[in-house]
Symmetry: C2
Subunit: 158 residues, 2 copies
């Protein structure tokens, strides 16, 4: 269930992205991708992955390789989801590597966390890195690192 | 010169680290390591590395493998350094992987940035991940991701 946190609704203040008002193409691609991901737009999302794409949660020790495996995982991960927010605190890139620091807010059915009948609210910090291929409009590697300890602490008191 | 940013002075509010007031051993090791790094305590620092340790700046595309190469790089990176601060905004771990989100403040000689006679002030966001080996008291892998675009923007106006 941990991995549910990667499915996010995206609220973003563009003004925080680049001091010169221009978004580098790598960050622009990353934003389009995150938008498709958080809107559960599977059709659009599939265009971002190739057979070689990697989708990894380093903090949950999970890894999916290739479009079909990734989409299958994302589809599964939507179960019980009521609301997701991903607030971007900071985003930067160096060439093809885009780093997104943010906080994830999750609202979902408690039964998925062993708390049937309840609605669960979680808000945790996380870092997502994307290795993007601007030319081919692809995500080569998506890596999440999420503060699951804080998530568990929040779950304990709900 | 970019990589100078990895040398940091560490100011930390422990209260932000763990909601239950206890610091996991992985984070404790990470803090001790960062403390040695930012205090330029080369003797202590050397105890954290093995021949297999990796020190990488993904956003500067630099990688050093093994104790001697890493220490040599850190020694070089101190040149022109007046002051470094690393403000930890958030720290979490999942097993051996420790993730540190923070902001780096740097004060250094301008000649290192092509601005002789000036003192340069920079403050940028960054993410550091540490793969730690608690049992052997080692850093297996240190990875920095730093917002160099913001750094360049700040340099331009100084």
């Amino acid at each position: 269930m941990r991995s549910l946190l990667i499915i996010i609704v995206f609220f973003l203040s563009f003004s925080t992205l680049a001091s010169n008002g221009q978004i580098p193409p790598e960050q622009k691609l990353a934003l389009n991708y995150i938008h498709a991901l958080t809107n559960n737009d599977m059709k659009k999302l599939s265009t971002f992955y190739s057979r070689e794409s990697i989708f990894q949660d380093k903090t949950a020790d999970k890894k999916y390789v290739g479009r079909s495996h990734i989409l299958e995982f994302i589809h599964r991960a939507h179960e019980g989801l009521i609301e997701y927010k991903f607030t971007v605190e900071h985003m930067f890139n160096s060439g093809s590597l885009v780093v997104i620091v943010g906080s994830y807010s999750y609202k979902g059915l408690g039964r998925l966390f062993g708390k049937p009948g309840k609605v669960i609210n979680i808000s945790v910090s996380g870092v997502t890195t994307l290795d993007v291929d601007v030319k081919n409009h692809r995500i080569k590697k998506h890596v999440d690192m999420i503060d699951y300890q804080t998530m568990n602490d929040q779950l304990e008191v709900q």
